[in-house]
Amino acid sequence: MLPPRFDYAAPTSISEAVGLLRTNGEGAKVIAGGQSLIPLLKLRLASPAVLVDIGRIPGLEYISESQGFLSIGALTRMADVVGSDLLRRRYPIIHDAATVIADPLVRNMGTVGGNIAHGDPANDLPAVMLALDAEFVVEGPSGRRTVRAKDFFVDTFTVALNLAEILTEVRVPRSASRSGGAYLKVEQKVADFATAGAAVFLHVGPRGECEGAGIGLTNVGPKAVEATKAAESLTGQKLTHGEALRRAATLAAEASDPLSDIRGTAEYKRNLVKRLVVDGLRLAYGRSQRGGAK
């Protein structure tokens, strides 16, 4: 399968890339690792006039922790997320997700920014970003702005990027003591998209009660699902209390809107969400009690 014809540009700075995107308007498309876009091009589901390859812009591959937050550069490869000791120790929810994204070969090319900006409800990082209440740094013709994950995912393959804007960095609130997260995914085979996935993040009080939670779901709706009511139902609840976990899981399943397809019926997927949320909450709570690890 050959992609359709397109022109190609490989800018070496963000401002150059933004300029190219602006000049070429709606016909231009950003390519980073290309692991989502190239299959779409081959299937002719996308046929941009110009590909703007941001993969050669230096300085966008990094994982670093500062006072306020964890920063991940948009071009950071998924393989480097998997290999990051910092993420494995302090942000295991991100490590969990990265290890189940596609396969090691795809992870060697695929980028964090691409996984998020593609807007595919089947991608794993969007749910994680919702659970973590992350924000994204976006650069475009009118400068730099940040967008919360909550406001970023608009619809299937549609995100809150304006014309000629590029996602350049992911920011996650810094890992705090007594917080914990987890990402669980059921897939039919290695490298498949999720039948369903659940990202869970908890802030836990000194007596084991929930002080705040975030829950995101993968591939059970037209976009990554934020299960707000489920997360809110946990506030003040003891996280060792099975009934509270099951109630949150039921609310999460109600927030999901899966379709029946080759991976299972909608009913099966809702049940899967319940199970993944309960298991995820238990794992996240356990991690919160180990201190410092999300």
Binding site: M1, L2, P3, P4, R5, F6, D7, Y8, A10, I31, G34, Q35, I38, P39, L41, K42, L51, D53, G55, A79, A102, D103, P104, L105, V106, N108, M109, V190, A191
Partner: protein, 173 residues
């Protein structure tokens, strides 16, 4: 008609230059422009890994990379493994352990295994399984492939230059 692009890259240590359409896939560039047909085009949908090559040392699926993305980079294919007529230890090991039957997946398996052993000379079975999880084999059931990678690890250990030692050469077998 889209513009063409001029690319320069290293393939198995040799500098190559080409003028290509931006839509040309790396696998097609290797097979059709360079005649390096050891890299197979299998599923063409990023699933099977028969097209695995190394780009700047990382194992990647060449059916899901544009040739223009390889501009300025170092590409290694299965043809680059053997050296002066001698098979690479990874190839020797696949031969000895029957790590293949039909052979279609083999060049991809070899390249994923080669990349693994370059970064992790003594992988556990779990690490081997994970690192070939993007490569499908429909013949062997993977058991012999895993044995092959373990044997390759031992062979490469034997071939690896040792730390300078005070033991005279004659004491080695």
């Amino acid at each position: 008609m889209a513009r063409t692009e001029h690319i320069t890259l290293s393939v198995n240590g040799e500098e190559r230059e080409a003028v290509v359409e931006p839509r040309l896939l790396l696998v097609h560039y290797l097979r059709e422009n360079l005649g390096l047909t050891g890299t197979h085009s299998g599923c063409d949908t990023t699933n099977c890994g028969a097209c695995t090559v190394l780009m700047d040392g990382r194992a990647v699926k060449s059916c899901t990379i544009l040739a223009v993305q390889a501009d300025g980079r170092k590409v290694e294919t299965v043809e680059g493994l053997a050296h002066e007529g001698r098979l690479h230890p990874v190839q020797e090991a696949f031969l000895a352990e029957h790590g293949l039957q039909c052979g279609f997946c083999t060049s991809g398996m070899l390249m994923s295994s080669y990349a693994l052993l370059a970064s992790n000379p003594h992988p556990s079975e779990d690490e081997i399984r994970t690192s070939i999880s993007g490569n499908l084999c429909r013949c062997t059931g993977y058991v012999q492939i895993i044995r092959s990678v373990r044997r390759a690890s031992r062979l490469m250990e034997r071939h690896r230059p040792k730390e300078p030692s005070t033991i005279p050469d004659s004491s080695r077998r």
